[in-house]
């Protein structure tokens, strides 16, 4: 089991595409969380999202909310792609048979993949916190604002919540890759769900149609957004909004994580490796 975990981790770490995606995640996070509000505070009136948040939103006291605010949608999309790549390329490169003929069971390999994705998810979240901390400290010092950092407990809670949301999207990517035995279709459909369908439900249909509003309370995106909002993420961020309580959101997101992981494992175990 540990051998499969380290093998998956080695593949993840040595794959250039994964580092590229981590870089994209950090740049996107810093742009939406810090650059746009700073530009707005400096007088830019482009109308881009976040420009009206003000300088205070970028200070160290808002680190937790800023670091996890992107996870319900755009950082989530990157983690979904990461999950699809970790599993789906095994089909494209015909490496399932190569790995499985070395002896490990399908579920052992799958568990190793989930372990590697958990490490990758935590890395993305911690990187988001770390770069956010550095950026907000630089802003505070340059603007002469006080550095009021969140408590250690708040930071841990934020990292934990971020990790949960990130892992749920990565696991959804893995499950979609197994269901569709590839890369292109799972990424396409996953992104359509995450970026289009969820946002339409969340931003357009839910305020107009009661049953859609009720339905979205059971979906992973709305609960991830509620969890992020409960920890201070700005409601102006796409997908973020306090629709349900933090405890309910945590339970629902964790439930989806278990369901996605279970579904992927069940399909992988049941199907022939062609």
């Amino acid at each position: 089991m540990w051998g499969s975990c380290t093998a998956e981790l080695a593949k993840l770490v040595r794959r250039p595409a994964n580092w590229f995606m981590l870089g994209i995640a950090i740049v996107l996070g810093l742009t939406f969380t810090y650059l746009l509000p700073l530009a707005g505070a400096a007088g830019s009136s482009s109308g881009a999202p976040g420009t009206d948040r003000g300088l205070a939103a970028t200070l160290p006291s808002n680190l937790v909310g800023n670091a996890i605010g992107g996870l319900p949608v755009f950082l989530g999309a990157i983690l979904l792609v990461l999950g699809v790549l970790a599993v789906g390329t095994e089909y494209g490169w015909s490496t399932w048979k190569t790995v499985l003929t070395q002896g490990p069971s399908r579920l052992t390999v799958y568990s190793g993949k989930l372990f590697a994705l958990a490490v990758a998810s935590l890395t993305v979240v911690v990187a988001s916190f770390a770069t956010g901390a550095v950026t907000s400290a630089l802003i505070a010092s340059s603007e002469g604002e006080p550095m009021n950092w969140p408590s250690f407990g708040s930071l841990l809670t934020g990292i934990g919540a971020g990790w949960l949301i990130a892992m749920t999207w990565a696991t959804l990517g893995a499950a979609l890759a197994i269901a569709m035995r590839g890369v292109a279709l799972p990424i396409g459909l996953g992104l359509v769900w995450l970026l289009v369908v969820q946002n339409l439900l969340f931003g357009v249909a839910a305020p107009l149609v009661d049953w859609v509003g009720t339905l979205q309370l059971a979906l992973p995106g709305a609960n991830a957004g509620s969890l992020a909002a409960s920890l201070g993420a700005s409601g102006a961020t796409p997908g973020v909004g306090e629709l349900v309580s933090a405890s309910q959101a945590t339970l629902v997101v964790a439930g989806y994580l278990v369901v996605f992981a279970g579904l992927g494992g069940w399909l992988l175990r049941r199907r022939d490796v062609l």
Binding site: R15, W93, W96, K97, V99, T101, Q102, V273
Partner: protein, 298 residues
Amino acid sequence: MNLPVDTDELTKRYGEQLAVDRMKLTVLPGEIYGFLGPNGAGKTTTLRMLLGLVRPTSGSVRLFGRPPGDLDGVGALIESPGFYPYLSGSDNLKVLARYSGTDPLRVGEVLAMVDLADRGKDRYSTYSLGMKQRLGVAAALLKDPRLLILDEPTNGLDPAGMADMRVLIRRLGAEGCTVLLSSHLLGEVQQICDRVGVVSRGRLVAENTVAELRGGTVLHIESDEIVRAAGLVRRWIGAENVRESGTGLDLTVAPERASWLNRELVTEGIAVRELHVRERDLEQVFFELTGEVAGHVG
């Protein structure tokens, strides 16, 4: 005794299509077993079932008495090799060694065995088809297996590479490793296998040593009027004993009937240009067993 490979009534059905039909396959310890059949005969599906990659519709599989999926001491290369293109050949094997719990030092040994030691540090994506195939064999050897299952291992190799691969397989066999070699190359099987199983349309139609499969001799006839001669000979000895071979006929008939046959043909006004006894080759046996046409096999 726990045989390296032992299947019973092994069957795989994809919808209406029967890919493998009640296959009874046994491979004995230490032998090199040739699994011979034309493309699409069910060889790869059978091998995938042995390795637990494909679930049988019915029947049983045992490798060393254990159910499929328990691959301790079993190495395999199935169809084209599959590796991670962003890793070097050596790193690919090191990753695989982690899955199998093999000492990473073994990687250098197996790379040397397939003559890839000097290219081990290069990215897999830069490898030629033959090098990829050899890396696939190296991966199969990683666990120092007692049973090696190789599916068309010489695909993509140049003649020298094919010869090297045959030498390697023979050497492994001599060292006590049991080898199950799937191939559609009759010459390859004839050269290195102790026993051969011939599969056709999902069924094992024959299983024996190469010598016994080839059986006795055939009588070869050449004539300028070969079409008329074929019609007559079919009437005399039965159509099932007559096979066109090049510009002549191969007859499955006792050698002592050669003079009788010659006399009868001459009596019918057919001049016989050539008449001699020759040993049957595996190709001929293969065609008889599978009913395939010559163009289907190499």
